[in-house]
């Protein structure tokens, strides 16, 4: 924030950075080769809904758009759910080898929100992975930072920090990682995970 904004008590809403999302498919290949985690095929976009007609119209349009494209390719319809903190999650489910299509779906949500001026409402995008031992892992993309971080939930609101750091090491420079560990915030019970 600039000096003038501080002086006048204004906050400019932070616009999301979208492009880095497309680094996911190649990182997934590295992750599979290095740690044995494969995508489950489900991913979700989390955003803060805005009250009023305008936003609900946009959200409805996005859902219809995604349902149309997944229906044409024989996929499942998009699920909508909201969490305890008032955030909405749009969950897209694809086959596990269709990561490219999944990322395209997620990007469609992003771009419609941004086009309608609701870009600042985007919180994060999550793509789920699992390995042979059924361990759960998510790669989470923070829109405002344009960075990724891993999230490996265990039962009972604990997280497997060792696995998270291992995953970061395995994928290495294929993804732009969030360097500030304080921002690796947990998303317990996130839909699609």
């Amino acid at each position: 924030m600039g000096f003038l904004d501080t002086l006048l008590g204004r906050t400019k809403p932070v616009q999301p950075k979208l492009d880095d999302l497309f680094a996911l498919p190649s990182a997934a290949v590295t992750l599979d080769a290095g740690a044995g985690f494969k995508p489950t095929g489900s991913g979700s976009v989390c955003f803060r809904p805005v009250e009023g007609r305008s936003f609900s119209d946009v959200q409805k349009d996005v859902q219809e758009l995604l349902n149309l494209s997944s229906h044409a390719e024989g996929g499942l319809p998009v699920e909508v759910s909201s969490d305890d903190y008032g955030f909405t999650w749009l969950v897209s489910s694809r086959m596990s080898d269709e990561l490219e299509a999944l990322v395209t779906d997620l990007h469609a949500v992003n771009s419609s929100l941004v086009d309608n001026g609701f870009g600042p409402q985007l919180l994060c995008t999550l793509v789920a992975f699992t390995d042979e031992k059924e361990r759960r892992l998510a790669l989470i993309y923070l829109y405002k930072r344009g960075t990724f971080y891993p999230f490996a939930p265990l039962s009972g609101e604990r997280r497997n920090n060792a696995l998270e750091l291992q995953v970061q090491g395995v994928i290495g420079s294929d993804l732009k990682w969030e360097q500030d560990l304080a921002r690796w915030f947990p998303v317990w019970g996130a839909p699609g995970l």
Binding site: M1, D5, T6, L7, L8, G9, R10, T11, K12, P13, V14, Q15, R48, P49, V50, E51, G52, R53, S54, F55, D57, D84, Y85, G86, F87, V114, D115, N116, G117, F118, G119, P120, Q121, L123, C124, L142, K144, R145, E157, D180, A182, R183, F185, P186, W188
Partner: protein, 319 residues
């Protein structure tokens, strides 16, 4: 661009805040000019008094800015919590986490004050040293959406650097208040002796005291006005951040209604923190016009009306 129009700044508020700060600056310049005038015209020793007041006042201001987080936390009886401490702490942390990710802010420390008075505050000299604190009374009364609205308001205070801005703004008032006191005691104890040597000593002290008193009164009112505008802009930014002005409105209504019913026992400890509270603990009967100009927070009606504007702005269909 659509995004620009939807989150446009409130021009009226910007203009009023700029005018207030301009007036504060004007008072400051006039004050300095008056003191230089007094010093050069009559007596060199008044310059030493002023210098003393500036150093003392500056020390106060820097000290309170530097230790604002510690002072506020200990005054409120709050303790810092980590997410694993309790269910309530985990809830607070989860909300703050999401808000920080939405606003792209570094995460502040999170504290809980164990009191039934429903309130929240944010303090700290900058975003890296910020603390956000909620009382247990607030967390019990509000649901997640409302609590998020209140915390977004507090985080906007951090983003706007309100602690810094208000410290700089009050600096002048602190010095003026110190000068009133010094001049008053100088008058009382040193006046007789000096009037033997120099016939001018008595009126100089008197003039210094009068000028300082006037400056103090005027800047006090302006600071309060500025504080009310900062509250309104924090409301606005908070509501834009969460996209839910109505959640903040319902939180405000709940909290303001309850605060009026709380007995006054806690007030002496709560009063110095008022400027950074979500809703003021001291109720100077927000309705009447005269009481309004002394209060640190705008009236509930005013805040609700401003949030209505945000609501309309967000609901407008793009195009």
């Amino acid at each position: 661009m659509a995004a620009r129009t939807r989150y446009a700044p409130d021009r009226g508020l910007t203009v009023r805040m700029t005018a207030t700060m301009f007036l504060l600056g004007l008072v400051f310049v006039a004050f300095v000019a008056a003191i230089i005038g007094i010093g050069t015209a009559y007596h060199a020793s008044s310059a030493a008094i002023v210098l003393f007041a500036v150093v003392l006042g500056g020390g106060f201001a820097i000290g309170s800015l530097f230790y604002s987080d510690k002072i506020a936390l200990s005054t409120a009886g709050a303790r810092e919590v980590s997410p694993t401490d309790s269910r309530e702490a985990a809830r607070l942390h989860a909300i703050v986490d999401r808000l920080c990710a939405l606003a792209d802010m570094p995460k502040p420390r999170v504290a809980i004050a164990d009191t039934d008075m429903p309130n929240a505050f944010a303090t700290g000299r900058n975003a890296d040293h910020a603390v956000v604190c909620a009382t247990t009374g607030l967390m019990r009364r509000l649901d997640n959406d409302e609590l998020e609205g209140v915390l977004a308001h507090e985080m906007s205070h951090v983003a706007h650097r309100d602690v810094q801005v208000m410290t700089v703004a009050s600096f002048l008032a602190i010095i003026a208040a110190l000068l009133v006191r010094i001049a008053f005691y100088g008058e009382l104890f040193g006046g007789g002796r000096r009037s033997n040597n120099n016939g001018n000593a008595l009126p100089i002290m008197l003039i210094l005291m009068l000028v300082s008193a006037v400056v103090y009164a005027v800047s006090f009112l302006l600071i309060r006005l500025l504080s009310r505008y900062r509250e309104l802009s924090a409301d606005r930014s908070g509501a834009l951040l969460t996209g839910q002005p109505s959640a903040l409105k319902s939180a405000l209504t709940k909290v303001s209604g309850r605060i009026a019913q709380i007995p006054t026992r806690d007030l002496r400890t709560a009063q110095p923190l008022n400027a950074f509270f979500f809703a003021p603990a001291m109720h100077l009967s927000g309705q009447s016009g005269l009481a309004n100009i002394f209060s640190t927070h705008p009236s509930l009606e005013r805040r609700l009306a401003e949030l209505d504007k945000v609501q309309q702005q967000l609901g407008r269909t793009a195009g």
